[in-house]
Symmetry: none
Subunit: 239 residues, 2 copies
């Protein structure tokens, strides 16, 4: 059943909009190609042109298509990023989107945090980072849960920025950390362990860059780490 206002039956235009959105995101038709004409869509869906135009208005607002009078409807090079993974249930969609959005925001903050930490970290803060890294490595070796150690490492970086806003932001994120198993990630077996070993290695890259006060190196190491995490996460999600 398509989403609708509480108790009300779904609107025809909304249903058709979702169907067209699904097709467009699936590359049918491909970017730059023409969509069927309004008249053809009326025939296809058996509805009036008013309904079709409202469905198209939604797609246009989302930046998926553009219309040209006299020419037709064209699929745009989409400005909206495709979802990282399919939501199992529509009700979870908002939550999952928020998770992905938060991860993206977090990435922006953490990359800059690594830079600032590399320029400002005191010897005591670097020692704290090394200690967190060590605890992460021990958890990996013992086959224990690594989420807490992982987050402690990132929190120590925020601490080393000597910026209370960064500390607060990471503290806030900590309250919203979601266990990897809840994200559908299989947290046992060799692939996951390899995933953790890669993470550990990247943590070391970040630590060493901060230790040597190489700000740009720290930024790049954190960026590589977050991108690598995302890619490994995707690979594990599909296995």
């Amino acid at each position: 059943m398509k989403a609708s206002v509480k108790g009300q039956k779904p609107r025809l235009a909304t249903e058709i909009e979702e169907d067209l959105r699904t097709r467009i995101l699936a590359g049918q038709p491909p970017v730059g190609e023409k969509l069927a004409t309004e008249r053809a869509l009326c025939l296809t869906y058996g509805v009036s042109r008013t309904v079709i135009r409202e469905a198209i208005a939604g797609l246009r607002a989302a930046g998926l298509i553009e219309s040209r009078r006299g020419s037709g409807l064209f699929v745009r090079a989409s400005s909206v990023q495709a979802p990282l993974w399919q939501a199992p249930m529509p009700e979870m969609q908002a939550e999952i989107v928020a998770i992905v959005d938060t991860l993206e925001l977090r990435a922006a903050v953490e990359i800059e945090a690594a830079f600032l930490a590399a320029t400002r970290a005191s010897p005591g803060q670097i020692a704290q980072l090394r200690s967190c890294h060590q605890r992460f490595a021990e958890a990996v070796a013992a086959g224990e849960k690594t989420e807490a150690a992982d987050f402690a490492f990132h929190q120590a970086i925020a601490e080393a920025t000597n910026n209370s806003a960064y500390r607060s932001f990471m503290e806030y994120l900590g309250k919203r950390t979601i266990p990897r198993s809840k994200l559908g990630l299989e947290t046992t077996g060799e692939p996951y362990r390899a995933y953790l070993v890669d993470m550990q290695s990247e943590h070391l890259d970040i630590l060493e860059a901060i230790e040597r006060h190489r700000a740009e190196d720290a930024r790049e190491a954190m960026q590589a780490h977050l991108l690598g995490s995302l890619e490994r996460y995707r690979a594990l999600s599909q296995s």
Copy 2:
């Protein structure tokens, strides 16, 4: 001039959609309240009901409003757009140093937001940015307060990331905006006006980079803008 397909004049529905979007995002009407009826909007904008319905279709697709037959149009508290920050960050309250830290955190986020906006902004969002920039310019020319227009411009950039976390972050910052006069900034006289003219020029650089989908340019323009603002602020604070 509102955004439009190359060479084509803007569509009435798109213009009205942007205007309504601006009003809704400004809290007029507030979340949960009713929008004007379709009929009233026809009279207000002097257009047919078809145009109004297409504008509304775009707002509905964006999750800003929901319609209920027999009841009216309501401003939604969207689950995606709801602010992630429910509780205030305790450590960020009423500390001078916290303000500087927040600005630094904000810079990290906004620089990345400019990058993401340049890759993702829809034509409607670019039009919104241009509208905000225009209002800022008008406020400068009229000698009026520019804080609201300034913040609206930055909020529109966050909007154009199509990332709810960025939106929420900017919304949170908005609640913490401190009037420049409270920061000890003399907000009258020629030096302040020159300060605003510089800001306006930098806003245009950011806007044009986003408009041209030059992600790296947008990032650099935002970085230059934020650094420039800080330097100008320091200069004004000491005069």
